[in-house]
């Protein structure tokens, strides 16, 4: 047999290969966007290697989609990690006890592979005190720790973290459940000047902070720009802290009311002057127990504010008006519905650059009195034409207002409307809300995230499937008539990555309809619908690398005899089913 050599030789001299890779590495270093990097890595083996060597930020959107070993084996030079665990519905109590999302194996792998790690972010994961200790001990150059919606640790863990991490610039805790271990963790920061730039502990429900220690910490943190205090800090204490840190750009005010053992002096402080001295504040939040009579103190900085979070402030429309009329530059605004439609009209009148609005209910129950309605939504749509993102809780809505918003705010990227009463129609016409949501997907051509509510028939989903070509995240609850609804969506929305469905009359045929889609999605969550265990099992068998979990929101195991599955949660995984699931979570 004659051995033929190929006409174009595949063997190039080693040094040329290496040069090529060096060149590509050099170029790729400039690419920071992870989607661009993902694309680059698919070009060829050479680019794949070069990209793997030069990626510095590791983003793991589902901690079970890939094992820590595999991730750290591929990417060798990471200095910043972000790992997300539980799906979003965990926030609403829909996950069973101890479902998973443990940070420990990730920390162990990072400790071995990236001892130089500087930034860590965990979202919706279990982070224990021991994990915080490990983080602080393994990464001597640790600069930033951010924990979002995490649980499992307490002030003891925080104490470990801050005492060991001398280079810490950022310690941000957002909506974390922090156990009160009766440790004054603030006093555990090492002595001397700190590197602190951001300290966020507004969610730490521990009153055990020695105020003078906190004051002292600020005095020796000249770089501190962001400070978000918890509600155990009174307004008098806030005054003193602001005097220590006039360079702040982001401030969470704590309670914003006097302490209950207030001396007269606390009432006589010139709060307005204190705020006026902090000329750089652009982002204001807190107001956890707001005493509205103190609100005028913030007037001096309102004109500079780009972000204002009043979502814990129980204030009425008049109180809001007096503040918002100064806030011409506001881009992000979070508020409670206690301000009413009138308050929102005031926002619409002044905040013409508004990009993000969130209106939360003071009373999050289905039959509570609603303080905002279609009137507020319409006003916002007319005044805030640049709106990109809205989350709006209400009790009453009309199609007309939603349609108006779709036309007035064509730049909307995120539209989340929550009509709290289930199956509630347009309260003026009594018709389903199909037209409104249909208009949103039709007119808002940049829409990537949509949450629907109210009375909805399959028609709404026809619209979504037909027009929602960029939709990546869809949340559906108490909606739809037949399985066709989800089929329209699964067949019509090519970019769909995250689908969250609860309490809808959808059955097994939706699983069949999505067979070709599920592997390319980040996850699918279907709870309290009409899926049977055999159908779920069939999906698990038909699609390799798909992890299909079945559970209830308690510690009851889904049984063969159950008519319907309580919750189906499925996602793709390169490394097969996880081995840390509790007994009551079945992996099919």
């Amino acid at each position: 047999m004659v051995e033929t050599t190929p006409t174009t030789t595949t063997a190039t001299p080693p040094y040329a290969d290496q040069t090529l890779e060096n060149v590509i590495e050099t170029v790729l270093k400039f690419i920071t966007n992870r989607r661009d990097r993902n694309a680059a890595s698919l070009v060829c083996k050479s680019w794949y290697n070069a990209e793997a060597q030069t990626r510095s930020e590791l983003f793991i959107p589902n901690c079970y989609a890939v094992s820590p070993t595999r991730a750290t084996a591929r990417f060798r030079r990471i200095n910043s990690v972000q790992v997300k665990g539980k799906p979003r519905f965990a926030d609403f109590g829909l996950m069973p006890f101890q479902w998973g999302a443990h940070s420990s194996p990730w920390i162990a792998a990072f400790g071995a592979a990236y001892p130089w790690l500087e930034k860590v972010l965990f979202k919706r994961m279990v982070v224990r005190d021991a994990d915080l200790l490990a983080i602080s001990e393994r990464f001597s150059g640790l600069k930033e720790v951010t924990l979002v919606c995490c649980e499992g640790f307490g002030t003891k863990g925080l104490a470990f973290l801050v005492s060991n991490s001398r280079q810490l610039r950022v310690l941000d805790l957002f909506e974390a459940e922090v156990n009160d271990d009766e440790v004054d963790w603030i006093s555990c920061f090492p002595e001397g000047e700190t590197c602190l730039e951001s300290l966020t502990f507004d969610c730490v429900e521990s009153p055990r902070i020695e105020f003078s220690v906190l004051e002292n910490l600020l005095a020796r943190s000249p770089n501190l720009k962001k400070l978000r205090l918890n509600r155990y800090i009174s307004i008098g204490q806030l005054y003193r802290l602001m005097a220590r840190a006039p360079q702040l750009t982001h401030l969470g005010t704590g309670s914003f009311c006097p302490s209950d053992i207030a001396q007269e002096a606390e009432f006589e402080l010139d709060y307005r002057a204190a705020f006026a001295a902090c000329k750089s504040i652009v982002c204001l939040s807190g107001f956890r127990e707001v005493a509205p009579e103190f609100l005028p103190a913030i007037y001096p900085i309102c004109v500079n504010l780009t972000s204002l979070n009043f979502s814990y402030a129980n204030i009425n429309s008049e109180q809001l008006k007096s503040v918002i009329c100064h806030c011409h530059k506001l881009q992000t605004f979070w508020v409670l519905d206690t301000v009413g439609d009138e308050g929102l009209q005031a926002v619409a009148a002044t905040c013409n650059d508004l990009q993000e609005l969130r209106v939360f209910p003071i009373d999050a129950r289905e039959d509570s009195e609603g303080f905002v309605s279609e009137i507020g939504l319409l006003a916002i749509s007319e005044g805030c034409r640049k709106l990109r993102s809205i989350l709006y809780f209400c009790q009453m809505m009309t199609n007309a207002a939603v349609i108006a918003m779709s036309k007035n705010c064509p730049d909307l990227v995120v539209f989340r409307l929550c009509i709290m009463g289930r199956h509630r129609p347009d309260h003026r016409t009594n018709r389903p809300m199909d037209e409104g949501f249909g208009a949103i997907v039709m007119n808002c051509k940049k829409l990537t995230r949509l949450a629907v509510s109210g009375l909805l028939t399959d028609e709404a989903f026809i619209y979504i499937g037909k027009y929602g070509k960029l939709v990546r995240t869809l949340s559906v609850a108490f909606a739809g008539d037949t399985d066709m609804a989800l089929k329209y969506v699964l067949e019509g929305c090519p970019k769909l990555q995250k689908l969250e469905v609860r309490d809808c009359p959808f059955g097994d045929s939706v699983l069949q309809a999505g067979l070709t889609r599920f592997y390319n999605m980040r996850f699918l969550w279907i709870s309290a619908c009409r899926l049977t265990l055999p159908a779920c099992r069939q999906i698990a068998q038909e699609i390799p690398h798909l992890v299909v979990e079945v559970f209830t929101n308690e510690t009851i195991v889904a049984e063969e005899g159950d008519e319907f599955v309580d919750t189906l949660y499925m996602y793709r995984s390169l490394d097969g089913p996880r081995n840390d699931a509790p007994e009551h979570v079945r992996i099919l």
Binding site: F92, R231, I233, S234, S255, I261, R422, N553
Partner: protein
Amino acid sequence: MELELGLSLSNCTFHKIPSLEELDLIGYVNCEGNQDYYGDNLSSLLSCGKSSVNDGDYDQEIRNYDDNENGLCRKKRRNESDEVVGWPPINTYRKKQQNDTHQQPHHPGRGIGNCQATENGGKDRVDDYKLTYQDEEGDWLLAGDVPWRTFIQSVQRLKMLRRDD
């Protein structure tokens, strides 16, 4: 396949008077050991004779009220097969903040260094506080002054105040 649009819900008039099941107050009183929404202070206040009605009467009151109402609109809250968990979709952290603000006294300005009150446990602090409520006319009244039925028909908000306020 059964369709469950629940259209009847949308046609309900939504009563201004909060229904009994939805007043967590009632559920708490009837459900032993439930720590979901209230700390020890409120539970002992509720049971320490502020009202002349004892637990047995609470049950009867609820049944009477229930029978008189159109049951379609209301959802049972606790340990019932059709309770709606996680709706409306407010995350548990935020919900807790709202509950804590309304029900539990907190102490801004107090840390270990500044603490003057005793930390002797719940029982001692109960006497330091009184329970007030806002009725439908916006007036703040002392709980325990009016009959139970009047109270539940008119209560809109609850507030705990220190006894000397």
